[in-house]
């Protein structure tokens, strides 16, 4: 604290020395305002690029097949209606929706339970198995899932799960495990050692420690991992494409794709289907934006 005032004074003196030579105070302020304006313009252009397609989609979904072709696509004129929403709901979107909810929920629960248990065992380092597990998981982190679709298709077919929701749950959970364990490890590692030891001395077994200490303390990282995995499972297209076939086991991303084949030029119906499929995520985003942002970036930021 004693050194701070001289330092500031020194810098202020230097500022007096440098600033006038460069430009007047007024010029500086004008320049800052100019920079602010340029930044505002740049940011606003990007905002338009982000929002315009979504606005187009919302508007188009409120038209009929006929009025979509004739009306100005950028203005809410020429008659808006919600009939296409009921069209797609009657055409099986509800079923795809329920499938997506089941698959996403099952994947998130399985991944959270398995990854947290694995992380706990890995930081306990009580046997060779935990070290081997970590090495195997780190190895798998780098393998792109796209490269595995052929063997996954073969395995799922051989164990009789082709065209079932279980096939999606199993493969997507397996794919989510490495990254989930690594995110959780960096969190579980920071749970104070003393707490675990104290419980251990009090005679608590490993299970007891896991359930009444590790699990409750890990709630924030569980939310992060749940959102990250939930989002990628909800939006996954490739694995459903390869592992399912019938309408009864199609999830939303695949169902939307099927709609496109089915409806072809009925663009309003397709736009309505896309918008209905995104509603849960929008609700989630509005309700818990902070956790959502953390979940999205949780993979790389610790």
């Amino acid at each position: 604290m004693s050194t701070a005032p001289p330092a500031v004074a020194l810098s202020a003196a230097r500022l007096d020395e440098v600033a006038p030579r460069r430009r007047s105070r007024l010029g500086q302020r004008a320049q800052r305002r100019l920079r602010g304006t340029i930044a505002f313009g740049f940011g606003t252009i990007w905002l338009v690029i982000v929002l315009a397609p979504i606005y187009f989609m919302v508007l188009s979904s409120l038209r009929t097949e006929g009025s979509y072709v004739t009306a100005n696509p950028w203005l809410p004129t020429g008659g808006l209606t919600g009939t296409e929403y009921s069209t797609v709901l009657h055409a099986g979107l509800g079923g795809y929706f329920i499938n997506s909810v089941i698959v996403t929920a099952a994947c998130v629960v399985i991944t959270l339970v398995l990854s947290l248990a694995a992380s706990f065992r890995i930081i306990r380092r009580t046997s060779r198995l935990s070290g081997a597990a970590l090495r195997l998981l780190v190895f798998g982190l780098a393998v792109p899932i796209q490269a595995l679709i052929v063997p996954l298709y073969i395995i799922i077919d051989k164990i009789g799960l082709y065209d079932s929701l279980s096939a999606l749950v199993l493969t997507m959970s397996a794919a989510a495990i490495p990254v989930s364990v690594l995110i959780m490890l960096s969190f579980v590692r920071d749970i104070p050692r003393e707490l675990i030891d104290a419980m251990s001395v009090d005679g608590a077994g490993e299970w007891r420690i896991f359930l009444s200490l590790i699990a409750p303390l890990s709630r924030p990282v569980l939310a992060t991992v749940a959102i990250y995995n939930g989002l990628s499972v909800w939006n996954n297209f490739l694995l459903p494409l390869v592992l399912t076939q019938s309408n009864s086991s199609a999830v939303l991303p695949l169902g939307l794709f099927k709609f496109q084949g089915q409806y072809g030029i009925d663009v309003p119906a397709i736009m309505a289907a896309v918008l209905l499929s995104v509603i849960p995520l929008v609700v989630l985003y509005i309700a818990m934006r902070r956790q959502f942002v953390r979940g999205l970036s949780g993979v790389v930021m610790r």
Binding site: G36, V69, R124
Partner: protein, 325 residues
């Protein structure tokens, strides 16, 4: 017992020099640890091993066989591999893949960085912008593809409408069907989808830079451009590496939008390696040859991802843990 704040001593490097439970005075027998490890790790390892590690082995093994999916396996040695190196379509798709990844990086990185720095500013309106910028991340790839397909339709799409009514004739194009436009359109759509995510990363990276550095620079009369070059860029190198690697690995293995919108066309102009592999497997039912393409795709992904491990120190963290196993 409840965890009290006094016990939670922050800043203590707990990972280091902690005694192994089975060396210290352990309250329970070794057997209970072993069973806990089995129960805690085995389900994970079975699921992950069976559906990630075994598939890796199958992909490599199958690349030496011919198989149509139903009949018998025929061992063909390295002939699938030699076919790959003389397969002009596959080699072209490899070129398209690298071109797509390279151009995507060049387009997305400066844009994401600029937007990330923009939204990390303190003005209230920028927080609102930042929340809206994330909206594309909520849409599924299929949703994004279908939305843009409608927008880019040369007859009834929103872009073509603007071109016709505002006399901007260059906007009236068969964006996804034209030989010269298809790949660049795909690049733009991928950027629309992923720039929001990378903006978020750069925003967080910028927030982690101590404000003192900028205050000191401003007091010394450093111009904003030089602040960016000498403070922001070096301080954000971790973010840049992470974002770039995710971006490049992601584009190298990109499949969804291309499959839905162009299916590799027109001609082979947007045919990427992952699409080539998908078609070899599920349209031509040449599973052996598809496995060659899969292994190539996997190796490319791993090599680039290893770059991340090397450059960010992620690897040193992992090896520390490996060492104590």
């Amino acid at each position: 017992m409840t965890p009290t704040p006094t016990l939670t001593s922050p800043g203590v490097p707990l990972a280091k020099a902690r005694p192994r439970p089975n060396q210290a005075n352990r309250p329970v027998g070794r057997g209970s640890y072993r069973s806990a490890d089995l129960v805690g790790l085995l389900p994970t390892l079975v699921l992950y091993g069976g559906l990630i590690l075994v598939p890796i082995a199958i992909a490599i093994g199958l690349s030496f066989y011919n198989w149509n999916g139903v009949g018998a396996l025929t061992f063909v040695g390295a002939s699938n591999w030699s076919r790959f190196f003389s397969d002009s379509i596959a080699l072209h798709s490899l070129e398209v893949t690298f071109l797509l990844a390279g151009v995507s990086w060049v387009v997305q990185t400066p844009l994401s960085m600029a937007l990330g720095l923009f939204v990390s500013g303190r003005q209230r309106y920028r927080a609102v912008y930042s929340a809206l910028y994330l909206l594309p991340l909520l849409l599924s790839t299929t949703g994004i593809a279908l939305m843009w397909q409608a927008l880019l339709d040369p007859n009834f799409g929103g872009i073509a409408w603007l071109g016709t009514h505002w006399h901007l004739s260059f906007l009236v194009q068969n964006w996804l069907g034209g030989n010269s436009t298809a790949l660049w359109t795909i690049v733009a759509l991928i950027a629309w989808q992923f720039v929001p995510f990378h903006t978020l990363l750069y925003q967080m990276g910028r927030r982690q830079i101590p404000q003192v550095l900028y205050e000191a620079a401003a007091l010394d009369g450093v111009t904003p451009l030089k602040q960016f070059i000498y403070v922001t860029l070096p301080q954000m190198r971790y973010t840049i590496v992470v974002s770039s690697t995710l971006m490049i690995v992601g584009s190298l293995t990109y499949f969804d939008i291309i499959y839905i919108l162009t299916n590799g066309g027109p001609g082979d102009t947007t045919r990427v390696l992952s699409l080539d592999m998908y078609q070899a497997a599920f349209q031509n039912t040449t599973f052996g040859y598809a496995s060659v393409l899969a292994v190539v795709l996997g190796v490319i992904g791993i090599v680039v991802a290893l770059g991340l491990v090397r450059l960010t120190g992620f690897g040193s963290m992992a090896s520390q843990r490996e060492g104590v196993a």
